[in-house]
Symmetry: C2
Subunit: 141 residues, 2 copies
């Protein structure tokens, strides 16, 4: 992986704020939703928080394979990831990622039973900056 | 469908420029990509152009069920559609939607065999404007 390109892609991911997380397989229809990004690790692991009773939880239990898109039309740049998403309920991780403003979603705070973490681990990372590199995506992983 | 809300959602869709189109089912993994929007009809039918040899074409032949997301983080607004996508190769439709700048993708112009139209017909439309209406999406269809 070209490390200058990796740094560029990582900066883009960390500035993205939101992503689209697509799930669904088997007999089920495909589904997707906009999700706020909590954290992006150096290896492009993406962390989200979600409500425990949401559709995506049952979809991920059925099939953890996920596609994640981060994009910014203004700079003609996007990232596409294929990987798997784990549902994390471990309190240590929940404490580590907790943000105080989330009490509006989880009134009981970091121990609220509905507060759930999703950990997306990418197997493939494709980065596209159309202004700089044209239509073709660069495979980073 | 509340018509004021429908107009608001339609304006948002027509200003979105791009969307994420998610495909894939059966044994296949879920896939998604950023796509430029060509046109949005009054009933939220969405028109795209695509290269005939792309992955999405084979995915859509396998299962036409599709989820489309349009979102703008700055205004905390998004649209989610569930529906089906048809692959259109009819020359009349291709002529009608053709844009001259596309010769960079399809050098032979509107009769280029790789120039293909996708027509997405939504069965469900969910509109969310978090600043105005909170976290809950409004079902428009």
């Amino acid at each position: 992986m070209g490390s200058a390109l990796k740094i560029e892609a990582l900066e883009f991911a960390r500035g993205a704020n939101v992503s689209v997380l697509a799930t669904g397989s088997g007999a089920k229809r495909v589904n997707a939703r906009v999700m706020q990004i909590v954290k992006v690790d150096d290896d492009f692991t993406v962390w989200y928080s979600t409500y425990g009773a949401s559709d995506k939880i049952s979809e991920l239990k059925n099939d953890p394979r996920t596609c994640v898109i981060m994009s910014n039309y203004k700079v003609m740049t996007d990232l596409r990831f294929h990987g798997t998403t784990e549902i994390i309920t471990d309190q240590k991780t929940k404490d580590r990622l907790w943000q105080d403003e989330w009490t509006r979603y989880y009134p009981k705070g970091k121990t609220d039973p509905n507060y759930t973490i999703l950990k997306f681990t990418p197997g493939e990372v494709e980065f596209r900056n159309m202004n700089k590199y044209g239509m073709e995506a660069k495979k980073l992983k």
